[in-house]
């Protein structure tokens, strides 16, 4: 019976990640505030990372798969025994890097949003597109004349 239920539950997990991707894309494109766009973008990147880890998962019958950590490294059969029961370590190594890079990109976007609010007084893109650009030099020349 487990052979039928476990793939069904894993399919539920996969579909949940895809639904999260769609909701986060809606948040990025349809919500006006830049802060809400940043929150949705972090959810989007986390969902993509989750999909990458999910690709490396495998089902071992009768037990949970082992994490990809070589414990019995003194014996030559140790890595071979681990490879029969462990999940794929490559997506995990890639995602570890992607999380740290995503943190740096988010910090940059936060700084840019702060600067936008400092210059224009709003973070809503619907208000930002109505603001007319005023060149400071032309304005000061007008005052001199």
């Amino acid at each position: 019976m487990n052979e039928l239920i476990i793939p069904y539950l894993l399919t539920v997990v996969f579909v949940s990640f895809v639904i999260n991707l769609v909701i986060a894309l809606y948040g990025i494109f349809a919500r006006p505030t830049l802060v809400k766009k940043i929150i949705a973008l972090t959810i989007f990147s986390d969902s993509l990372n989750s999909l990458a880890i999910f690709v490396g998962y495998r089902v071992v019958s009768g037990r949970v798969p082992a994490p990809p950590v070589v414990v019995n490294y003194t014996s030559p059969q140790g890595p071979a025994q681990l490879a029969k029961v462990a999940v794929d370590p490559l997506p995990q190594a890639l995602v570890l890097t992607a999380i740290v890079i995503g943190l740096a990109v988010t910090l940059f976007m936060v700084k840019v949003t702060m600067q936008v609010h400092r210059v224009y007084g709003t973070t809503s893109v619907r208000k930002l597109e109505r603001i007319e650009y005023v060149n400071k030099e032309e304005k000061s020349e007008g005052v001199v004349e």
């Binding site: 487990n2 239920i5 476990i6 539950l9 894993l10 539920v12 997990v13 949940s16 990640f17 639904i19 999260n20 909701i23 986060a24 809606y26 948040g27 919500r31 006006p32 505030t33 802060v35 809400k36 940043i38 929150i39 949705a40 972090t42 959810i43 986390d46 989750s50 880890i53 999910f54 490396g56 998962y57 089902v59 071992v60 019958s61 037990r63 949970v64 798969p65 082992a66 994490p67 990809p68 950590v69 462990a86 999940v87 995990q92 995602v95 570890l96 999380i99 740290v100 943190l103 988010t106 910090l107 936060v110 949003t113 702060m114 609010h117 709003t122 973070t123 809503s124 619907r126 208000k127």
Partner: protein, 84 residues
Amino acid sequence: MIDLIAALLMAVAAVTSIVFTYLAVVEKNLVQAVVFSAVQSTMYALIYFLLMAPDIVLVYLPVGVGIYPAIVLLLIKKTDKVDE
């Protein structure tokens, strides 16, 4: 039996994360939206643990629940509080 329980917990955490993602996207109050996003990150950390990625959990839990909400709350404090 243990693999069935792990898959069941994974599915429950994944469906819960959908609810909190939806709440985080549609919520007008940005502070509450950040809190919903942090809860969704906790669900993802549980899924990573059940997907046998303990090293990802050790990195993602401080980043997703600690640093992301902290810097976004700092941003909200300096800018608008409410989504238009």
